[in-house]
């Protein structure tokens, strides 16, 4: 019983600091004066001394616990002396990083360095005496006075080649991807420039067995709203009428759009959701996740990629790998930034390749013992092939067992695998002046595994 008493006393943050990946001190704020600033160095020593398989999230130094997350290549660290809730601390650090991203436009060492005054101001309002006060951008916008410093002046016409969510989108007809990477506060003096972005982002992880059967397929999706409206009114997002949750429910007449589980942001009102699949909310400035959903074990359509490998040893002791990769998307869609990783046997020294077009590339990464085959653009309904000849003088007795599984990482712009679509996006009352509404879809995967 006493243990419970102890655990209910105080769960507060002692310090917050942000370090670059090289260990430079970018931001340091002490809320309670319980520990010296030398712990920053202690933290960096500890975190860099860890081996890959040791969990780094929580570390101790005497009575002090370090909890950290990595975002934007930076260490975001909170220290605490009490045995606080890890969920709370990690969620807070992630939220802090998201706020900094909202206010500074992007999340990197440079933007944090340039906007340190703004970040101190944020931290001051977000945390008092180690207690989280508010992280809502609605509330914070009244308090934050410092203007963000951008590394380059923002312009919608600045079609930089940073693509959608960091991807390369040469012929993207949607909003240029840099559009959403700007500080929320600049909307204040830009006056008429009011925009809203609604992104549907899905992450897919798939395992396909060597016989071509889908063994596992998970999709995690979310709808993110990024709002740059000076005065926010109510927004109505209409999803497909056929959208259903759970196994049994079937709605509408079209192809069912089904998810297993679905959760919403606190601010979303769902009174029209069950009848006509409409989400109502008043978006706060900055980015927020309005809805999250998951689908497991079942894809509504065929998996986007199939692989037909032929692997054999030739008389010269080389390993010949002939890979045919088919993209089963509809012909008008395409996958971009496809990276195929093919683990190869130990003892491989070099590879020679024959690829079907010059924009592809492939190289053997000795450190990760894998061939990386990069395809910048892969249209639906087409097939690519590659022949890799692997020089491996010291092959083991069973080299074929060491090949694979092949892993694909890719992005599918303008596409959701669940089929979730946004029917309409209405702002009421109608915004005065020009306002732009953008809806963007993307599906990506960094774990699309095909066994060979």
């Amino acid at each position: 019983m006493t243990k419970h008493f102890a655990s209910t006393i105080a769960a507060m943050i002692s310090q917050v600091f942000i370090l670059s990946s090289q260990g430079d001190h970018l931001i340091y704020k002490d809320f309670r004066g319980e520990a010296g600033s030398d712990v920053v160095g202690v933290f960096y020593e500890k975190v860099t001394a860890l081996t890959g398989d040791q969990p780094p999230v929580v570390m101790n130094h005497g009575d002090l616990h370090f909890v950290h997350v990595r975002q934007g290549g930076l260490y975001w660290v909170a220290t605490t002396t009490a045995d606080s809730s890890p969920f709370t601390l990690i969620e807070f650090l992630n939220r802090l990083a998201a706020l900094v991203k909202d206010y500074c436009g992007s999340l990197c060492e440079k933007s944090v360095q340039m906007n340190f005054a703004l970040i101190y101001e944020l931290l001051d309002e977000v945390v008092d005496y180690g207690y989280i006060q508010t992280t809502s951008s609605d509330v914070l916008k009244n308090f934050i006075q410092t203007e963000a410093v951008c590394s380059k002046p923002f312009s919608l016409f600045d079609l930089s080649n940073v693509g959608l969510f960091g991807a390369e989108t040469q012929q993207s007809k949607v909003a240029p991807s840099s559009a959403a990477t700007r500080p929320v506060q600049s909307s204040r003096e830009q006056g008429g420039k009011s925009e809203i972005f609604v992104d549907v982002i899905e992450r897919m992880s798939v395992v396909i067995g060597s016989n071509g059967v889908v063994m596992k397929a998970d999709v995690e999706g979310e709808i993110r709203v990024k709002c740059f409206m000076p005065s926010c009114s109510e927004m109505r997002i209409g999803l497909n009428e056929e959208f259903s949750i759970g196994k049994s429910q079937i709605r509408g007449y079209g192809a069912a759009v089904r998810v297993d589980e679905c959760s919403f942001h606190q601010a979303v009102r769902l009174d029209e959701f069950s009848s006509s699949r409409i989400l109502r909310l008043c978006p706060s400035p900055g980015e927020q996740t309005v809805m999250q959903y998951q689908l497991s074990d079942e894809l509504p359509s065929a998996p986007p990629f199939r692989l037909y490998p032929t692997i054999e040893r030739d008389s010269g002791g080389r390993l010949l790998m002939y890979l045919k990769l088919r993209c089963d998307l509809l012909p008008r869609s395409a996958a971009i930034n496809v990276c195929v990783t093919i683990p190869v046997p130990r003892g491989s020294v070099s590879v020679s390749q024959e690829l079907s077009s010059p924009d592809q590339s492939a190289e053997l990464k000795l450190q990760s013992r894998a061939i990386e085959w990069r395809i910048p653009r892969f249209p639906g309904g087409t097939q690519l092939s590659a022949l890799f000849k692997l020089e491996a003088p010291a092959l083991g007795p069973a080299p074929l067992m060491e090949v694979g599984p092949v892993v694909l990482a890719f992005e599918l712009p303008h596409l959701t695998v669940t089929g979730l679509q946004i029917r309409f996006l209405r702002l009421s009352p109608v915004q005065p002046g020009p306002s732009q509404r953008w809806i963007r879809y993307v599906t990506h995967s960094d774990s699309y595994v095909i066994r060979v």
């Binding site: 600033s37 809730s85 709370t88 009244n142 589980e261 942001h265 606190q266 067992m401 774990s447």
Partner: protein, 728 residues
């Protein structure tokens, strides 16, 4: 900016700050101050600029004010006198019509952390509690907590405490939550604020208005409340039901904690709550943030301790993603091992086999030992995979496989044939000492069935001069001895060479002593040698516990939603259990049961023999016995199957006595029908209580402590008598 040493930087900055031209231009003034703060956060000591910064504080520019306060709060404790100059500006700001200025001043007044300023701060703080702007009240409430902690010895002002209790009804939710926090801090010595029924229900009713952080705070404070009746408890639980499935992991975790604390006596309710959080926890496992994913995994491991079947149907959610870091993969494998059942075993093993060839050696080894763990229940499928992996002939894989096989054979002797045939030829691939030790152990135990065993040993003995690890040498001695016992013709010569080398040339004392011991043993004659060395390969009638029985929730409830489950090594060592040489010593030196039985020789070990009457024991299920023992902190090492005869249980405990703990080892022996021929078959008979069976208890402790032993015996007797009588 050119590179300057820290003194030069400070001088340069001072020149800027005191330049009247700069001071008259707000933008330039502000940017000079920015430079100071930048230098400060980069770790340059700018304390010398304190007086210049104090001057800069008196400005109408809020941004500049905020910047200066950041500086002042960092350095005030070094300059208490100069800080007095700031207090006037701050007090004036507290009267400002702009609430933002008021809250800013009030917050930083206390953040200076100067006990000497307390007298100037109290009045503005009191006024702040009654301010009409919520943002000022928020600051003022926490300000009292800060002030109290600055002067921990001072009296608690009852008026302030009352006012804070009153502010729990403040319309602003953050003010309310801050009141909770402040009261908890101020009343720390009294065990925190009073949580009575009206306060509890007030807090619960306002839960909906709070943000995630506020909800967590309230839920945590409520853990101290004890509902007065069962109906009130259920009212509270139903109010909390929605937060239990909150999409925000912090709220979900805090609510589950509260559930577990509120109903420790209602296991059904707790189990239902665990079922409810399954969805949100699984969602957190798929979160985009890998830290959240890791946290959720660690907590799922806790839940599985009490409800092993909780995630059974969702095992695919724990398959590793290719790009995930090794520490997440390992946790996922630990979870996967727990989830295996008849339906999913094929899929699961197939998946795990894929990880065995991972580029990361740690991940590969973890996957191999996970397969070994599953092999305890599904030995054929697992051995097939493990044998296949040996074909890769890669040193780290072979080493991990041999170690895993050793652990498996000890528990499942039926695997030994397959293992013996797989072992041929793998000594060439093994490089590390762990793997070679495991191989030697296997040769020692099953050497007579491995055709090439003497040749393998010969290779080891020829290379013994170059061998660095004493562990391998000791293992080699034992193995050669045991092989000599069963295959003397082939090994006599090499044993002689090995003993000669170890006795004459070896520098490591442990190795040399062991060689001497074996030498003397051989001189005692072959019979004696055989008797000492012929330990068991594994006790066939002795099943070391495979699946752990479900623990009661109370075992882990207090560490749920704390940092504890995330710490290194918090994971079950059992699942990843590497080297377990204790098997060897346990087996070879002297069998535990032999030592216990042949008490006459080593009388100083056996401390107590007692017979207790206990009809239930030989027939109760291992799980219920173990659960009962764990309640009183007695751990079971191993036991025979129910109804086996003779029936044995080995157990141990740590007896606490005057700041030092002593280990007590014990054995329960039920000889059963063999002993009392005339009562044969009685246990199945219609009236088993007609004669009560006796269980022989043997206890060992060193040094002997009569009191502890008697205490232990009485506890043990009590536990045994409570066991349910369980006839099948």
């Amino acid at each position: 900016m050119p590179y300057l040493g820290s003194e030069d930087t400070v001088r340069e900055l001072r020149r800027h700050l005191s330049n009247p031209n700069v001071q008259s231009d707000p933008l330039r003034y502000r940017s000079s101050i920015l430079k100071v703060i930048r230098a400060m956060s980069q770790g340059v000591d700018v304390a010398g600029l304190f007086s210049e910064m104090v001057k800069a504080c008196a400005t109408v520019d809020i941004v500049q004010k905020k910047l200066v306060y950041v500086f002042l709060c960092s350095y005030a404790t070094l300059n208490p006198e100069l800080s007095l100059l700031v207090i006037n500006t701050l007090r004036k700001d507290c009267q400002d019509p702009n609430p933002m200025v008021r809250s800013l001043a009030l917050r930083n007044m206390v953040n200076l952390r100067l006990p000497s300023l307390a007298e100037y701060v109290e009045q503005p703080l009191s006024a702040g509690l009654r301010d009409r702007a919520a943002c000022v009240r928020r600051v003022a409430v926490l300000g009292w907590a800060k002030l109290h902690n600055l002067q921990p010895a001072s009296e608690i002002d009852a008026a302030v405490v009352n006012e804070l209790y009153g502010l729990l009804r403040d319309p602003d939710p953050v003010v309310m939550v801050n009141c909770l926090r402040a009261l908890e801090e101020i009343l720390k010595e009294e065990g925190g604020m009073a949580i009575n029924k009206p306060i509890t229900h007030h807090l619960l009713n306002r839960l909906g208005q709070l943000d995630v952080w506020g909800q967590c705070e309230v839920l945590r404070v409520l853990q101290r409340y004890r509902p007065q009746s069962e109906s009130e408890l259920f009212d509270i639980l139903s109010l909390l039901d929605a937060s239990l499935v909150s999409p925000h992991p912090p709220v979900m975790a805090a609510t589950l904690s509260l559930f577990l604390v509120l109903c420790p006596d209602l296991p059904a309710v707790s189990f239902a709550a665990l079922e409810r959080v399954r969805g949100p926890l699984l969602a957190a496992c798929g979160s985009a943030s890998r830290e959240t994913r890791f946290t959720a995994l660690c907590h799922i491991q806790l839940l599985l301790r009490s409800l092993p079947g909780l995630m059974g149907a969702h095992y695919k959610r724990f398959f590793c993603g290719y790009a995930e870091p090794a520490y997440i993969k390992q946790r996922k494998m630990q979870v996967l091992v727990e989830l295996v059942n008849d339906d999913n075993v094929a899929m699961l093993l197939d998946e795990l086999r894929g990880y065995c060839t991972d580029v990361n050696a740690d991940t590969a080894q973890a996957a191999i030992s996970a397969i070994g763990r599953i092999g305890r229940s599904y030995s054929d499928q697992c051995l097939q995979i493990l044998t296949g992996l040996l074909g890769l002939q890669q040193e780290h894989i072979t080493s991990a496989v041999v170690q895993t096989m050793r652990d498996l054979v000890w528990v499942c002797p039926q695997c030994s044939d397959t293992v013996c045939s797989a072992l041929e030829g793998c000594e060439e691939t093994l490089q590390d000492s762990q793997g070679r030790q495991a191989l030697l152990w296997l040769l020692a135990v099953h050497g007579e069935r491995v055709r090439s065993a003497p040749y393998t040993l010969e290779g080891f003995i020829d290379g013994v001069r170059g061998e660095a690890s004493p562990g391998v040498k000791m293992e080699l001695l034992t193995t050669t001895m045991r092989l000599f016992v069963c295959r003397p013709a082939e090994t006599q010569d090499m044993l002689g060479r090995l003993l000669h080398h170890c006795i004459e040339e070896e520098t490591d004392m442990c190795v040399r002593d062991q060689a001497l011991l074996y030498y003397r043993l051989l001189r005692c004659g072959m019979e004696e040698t055989r008797r000492v060395l012929g330990g068991r390969r594994s006790e066939p009638s002795l099943g070391v516990l495979i699946g752990r029985p479900a623990e009661p929730i109370s075992q882990w409830a207090s560490s749920f939603n704390t940092l504890e489950p995330l710490k290194q090594g918090a994971g079950e060592t059992e699942t990843t259990g590497r080297a377990s040489p204790q098997h060897v010593t346990f087996d070879l030196d002297s069998d535990l049961s032999d030592t216990l039985n042949s008490g006459a020789e080593e009388l100083d070990y056996v401390c107590l023999e007692e017979r207790i009457r206990c009809p239930a024991v030989p027939h109760c299920s291992p799980q219920s016995l173990q659960a009962a023992m764990q309640l009183v902190n007695i751990q079971t090492l191993a036991f025979t199957a129910a109804h086996a005869s003779p029936w044995r249980v080995y157990l141990y405990t740590h007896a606490q006595q005057a700041a030092r703990s002593a280990l007590i080892l014990g054995q329960l022996l039920y000889a059963g029908e063999d002993e009392d021929e005339d009562e044969a078959g009685l246990s199945e008979g219609p009236s088993p209580r007609g004669r009560e069976e006796e269980v022989k208890v043997t206890l060992k402790q060193r040094p002997r402590d009569e009191k502890a032993l008697q205490g232990f015996l009485s506890i043990l007797t009590a536990v045994l008598h409570t066991l349910p009588f369980n006839t099948h």
